[in-house]
């Protein structure tokens, strides 16, 4: 501040601005709680309210309103460059998601050498675990209950699955086999249909992996 006007600024102005800021943040929270649809409208409102709050904060609480234009432009104009950064970040994010989904399918179908289970290396469950590991299953399906790209295998066998569209199915052997060779047939609610079909596995290998999945239910 470089003149004396603001020394006589009424405190009422500050209190009013503070009241508006509190009202705006309450409004944001209310929009969140009421879950106003559609989502893009909600997000647009959040952004608009945040920008309005920021403008008030900079103009009154940081006293930018009383500064000379040289300082205002020197500070405010560079900040608009952040918009370019945001646009780059958004397009990059979309691109990476696309690559992840593509690369993932390619990686799985291009695995030329699969470890064949040897009879000496332990029981069926252990073999199934090795197969699930070498075929990349475990990078999307956890054995611990953690949600990754796909549903966790822990407690999966024998449970009732709620599907996209509202139907339910019991996760028996037939369902598990279908979900391996034709994953798009039944999609569990809340997941994306990104898994490629594992048609190159032999019936024996599929059965072995299913034995491993079964063990994750009976263990505890």
């Amino acid at each position: 501040m470089n003149n004396n006007d603001e020394k006589n600024l009424p405190i009422g102005t500050y209190l009013r601005v503070w009241g508006i800021v509190v009202a705006l943040v309450t409004l944001s929270y209310a929009i969140f709680l009421l879950e106003i649809e559609p989502l893009w409208l909600r997000r647009f409102l959040f952004t608009a309210i945040a920008l309005l709050q920021a403008t008030l904060g900079v103009r009154y609480f940081m006293q930018m309103r009383w500064e000379r234009p040289s300082l205002v432009y020197a500070i405010v104009l560079p900040v608009t460059l952040l918009l370019a950064l945001v646009i780059f970040a958004l397009s990059e994010g979309r691109y990476v998601l696309g690559v992840r989904q593509l690369e993932y399918s390619a990686e799985v179908s291009q695995q030329p050498v699969r470890e064949t289970p040897s009879a000496q290396s332990g029981n069926l469950v252990e073999l199934g675990k090795q197969l699930a590991q070498s075929n990349g299953c475990l990078s999307c399906h956890s054995s611990t209950g953690n949600r990754l790209v796909g549903p966790s295998w822990k407690g999966l066998y024998g449970s009732t699955r709620e599907l996209e569209g509202g139907a339910t199915v019991i996760a028996d052997e037939a369902y598990l086999k279908e979900s391996i060779v034709n994953p798009a047939a039944k999609i569990v609610k809340g997941f994306s249909p990104v898994m490629p079909p594992f048609t190159f596995l032999s019936d024996e290998e599929i059965q072995t992996i299913i034995e491993y999945i079964k063990s994750l239910t009976t263990e505890n």
Binding site: L9, V58, R68
Partner: protein, 223 residues
């Protein structure tokens, strides 16, 4: 300084007047211009963090955790989504108001009130950081880590700890500065100097910390 006629000056004319020939461009004290430039740099730090968060959230193959459920606070049996965060937001925004009042009373050389409101701002800031500590503790107890969490995309933890951690660090440093400035006001340091510029500077810093939260709250919690 030249004798400027008190005619109506448009912003554009004022801009050229300020930059024309060898004059002082920023007609504020150098320390204030430097504080603004520091804030500009810090704005780019947080802008980059928020952009990185947007990118990571878009690129996540697993579904993003529902913040309303993750940050719910149980009150009398019902889970109220984001209640603690909403409370923290109100506290921080209120501290922005008390800071502005402290600066105003500083300009009026009202020592007692300036000290009181600066100290009040520091207290509200400390309360905010304490509640953030509660939030972090709850989340870490429930299994949130920077590399994984029980609710969905693993990028959630990294974004949460980076964004709120850096902001919390800024608030903590601000509380320290405010406490020092409040003490200096009370001791009459600024009265001896003849101006309350120190209060204005910490006021600018605190206004910026407030501003960052104005964007963090909707983009991280409400989106």
């Amino acid at each position: 300084m030249h004798h400027e006629q008190q005619e109506r000056i448009t912003p554009l004319r004022a801009f050229f007047a300020d930059w024309a020939s060898d004059r002082r461009a920023f007609q504020v004290r150098w320390s204030k211009a430097m504080m603004w430039i520091f804030i500009l740099g810090d704005a780019f730090v947080f802008g980059s963090f928020l952009s990185a968060y947007a990118s990571a959230r878009l690129a996540a193959a697993a579904p993003w955790p529902n913040a309303g459920e993750v940050f719910a606070l149980p009150i009398g049996g019902a889970e109220i989504p984001l209640l603690l965060v909403a409370l923290m937001t109100l506290i921080l925004l209120s501290s922005g108001g008390t800071m502005a009042l402290a600066v105003l009373y500083g300009l009026r050389h009202d020592r007692a009130k300036a000290a009181l409101f600066t100290a009040l701002t520091a207290l509200l800031g400390a309360l905010f950081v304490s509640l953030q500590g509660v939030e972090w503790t709850n989340l870490i107890r429930e299994g949130a880590r920077p590399w994984s969490n029980p609710w969905g995309a693993p990028q959630f933890g990294a974004s949460f700890f980076t964004l709120t951690g850096f902001h919390g660090l800024h608030v903590s440093i601000g509380v320290l500065l405010l406490a020092i400035v409040a003490l200096r006001i009370a001791r009459g340091v600024y009265d001896k100097k003849g101006d309350y510029l120190g209060v204005e500077l910490v006021g600018l810093y605190w206004g910026f910390v407030d501003l960052v939260w104005v964007f963090l709250f909707p983009f991280f919690y409400l989106f």
